[in-house]
């Protein structure tokens, strides 16, 4: 399973992404488990709304943070997210 650059990315329907006040962190919740996210991972996942491809996510974030060269980091994280079932395509 690897990311298809031409397809939009969607956050999983069977996971939940949520801000936790007590931890001051975004987390992913799933059956009997939880993953704590750092700020940049959470920013990426929030853009996985089923309309954007990786190229669009990269350009949105580069614009938002007025920076360049984010592709490799974002791609690496999304590959991990895909393996873990947090996101899917199609």
């Amino acid at each position: 399973m690897t990311l298809n650059p031409d397809l939009p990315i969607q956050f999983s329907r069977t996971h939940r992404l949520q801000w936790e006040e007590a931890q001051q962190k975004n987390v992913i919740l799933y059956p009997e488990g939880m993953v704590e996210l750092n700020a940049s991972s959470a920013e990426i996942l929030k853009l996985c709304d089923g309309t954007r491809t990786i190229t669009q996510i990269v350009s949105d974030l580069e614009e938002k943070f007025a920076t360049q060269g984010l592709f490799n980091d974002i791609n690496a994280f999304l590959e991990v997210a895909l393996q873990n079932g947090w996101i899917h395509q199609n």
């Binding site: 939940r16 936790e20 007590a22 919740l29 799933y30 059956p31 009997e32 939880m34 079932g85």
Partner: protein, 376 residues
């Protein structure tokens, strides 16, 4: 407990709400206390809502709704709705018995996140025998409906000597049912399972064979199904890190409102477990005697006290130490460094002898009659 400063108390992450001890099934390995029939009062809907609100404020985010059979509670949907409003991720842990499609939809609308259905075996005959109730076909039907209505589907099978030979069939069944997660829970020997241990504890060879089959299968379904394998600690030489450390992560509330650091803790002496009707969750978590009892490591005896692995397993399970070594402060006898480790070898040997014996004694099923008989 002395010397444990409040600054290193971490907030609860998991709230395990045991809504009722009532259950139409009679599993002989049930984790409920043997004397559950004595504790037959149940706190109200409003009490549960208050507990959920207070625990959430402290940081609890995963909510387990279990029992007994949580579906027995008429106010389950209302509790689920309240949990969703508070932002919990709620897990319904059910036998599936009495779960209709209408209820599945109703719970989904109320905001339930996930349903875990337990199946006792891969064949009707054995499932219904172990459950003490005809339930196999209905459970499979429930598994389909759970999936159909968009829940992640988690199948749980408790493994013991009566069904361990079905491992390959159990895995095939989970795949055929489209499970997203499969929990293979080797029996933990507390409560009813402790009473039935000679009949339930598999031999080491059986464990190894079953584990091999499960591991091989895990690779073939990677990416499709996640498998949680709860290890059988009797055949390990280190204990499990019980509850991820006492009073660090888990908060269990029993049906009658008693707050427990682990679901077996009501069997431990002199803990004075508090009740949610008398004190708030934050007082229970931060200040109560029970929750501070085994926090940190000041309570430890040798060999744990000077052991370099104590940060890893916290000396093992307190309930197991109490049940098997007769001392709740002792090193968990599962540990090969424990002077009481021989009791584990004896238990394994005794179970093997029972397995070879011509006429095995019958399983003691979990029901109110047996509960009253055994706790007198």
């Amino acid at each position: 407990m002395a010397g444990y400063t409040k600054t290193n108390i971490t907030p609860p992450r998991w709230l395990l709400a045991e809504l009722t001890y009532a259950c139409p099934l009679q599993c002989p390995y049930c984790a409920n206390p043997i004397d559950y029939a004595k504790h037959d009062s149940e706190i109200s809907t409003e009490d549960w809502k208050r507990v959920l609100t207070q625990a959430r404020k402290m940081g609890a985010v995963q909510l387990g709704l279990s029992g007994g059979e949580p579906l027995v509670r008429k106010d389950l949907t209302e509790i689920v709705k309240h949990a969703r409003d508070l932002g919990y991720y709620s897990n319904l842990i059910t036998s599936g018995y009495g779960l209709t499609e209408e209820k599945i939809v109703q719970l989904k609308e109320a905001g339930l996140d996930h349903i875990q259905v337990s199946i006792q075996a891969s064949s009707q005959e054995l499932n219904d025998h172990i459950a003490g109730t005809t339930s196999f076909e209905h459970k499979k039907q429930v598994a389909h409906l759970v999936k159909k209505h968009g829940y992640p589907m988690v199948l749980c099978v408790v493994i013991h000597r009566e069904n361990i030979h079905q491992m390959a069939d159990i895995l095939a069944m989970a795949e055929a049912l489209g499970a997203d997660y499969l929990e293979l829970a080797n029996t933990q020997y507390y409560g009813w399972a402790h009473a039935n241990r000679d009949l339930l504890l598999p031999t080491k060879e059986q464990f190894e064979e079953a584990e091999k089959i499960a591991q091989a299968f895990k690779e073939t379904v990677a990416g499709k199904m996640k498998i949680y394998y709860v290890v059988p600690d009797f055949h390990e030489d280190r204990p499990k890190a019980c509850m991820n450390g006492w009073g660090t992560t888990f908060l269990t509330i029993a049906p009658d409102g008693v707050a427990l650091p682990c679901h077996s803790a009501r069997d431990l002496p002199n803990l004075d477990c508090p009740n949610v009707n008398d004190v708030s969750i934050s007082e229970i978590w931060n200040d109560s005697k029970a929750f501070n009892f085994f926090r940190g490591d000041d309570w430890m005896q040798e060999p744990c006290r000077s052991c370099d692995e104590k940060e890893k397993d916290f000396g093992g399970c307190r309930c197991q130490a109490y049940l098997l070594a007769g001392d709740m402060y002792a090193t968990d006898p599962v540990c090969s460094k424990s002077p009481n480790h021989y009791v584990i070898d004896e238990a394994i040997e005794s179970a093997r002898n029972a397995a070879l014996a011509e006429n095995e004694k019958p399983l003691i099923f979990r029901n109110s009659k047996n509960s009253k008989l055994l706790s007198n």
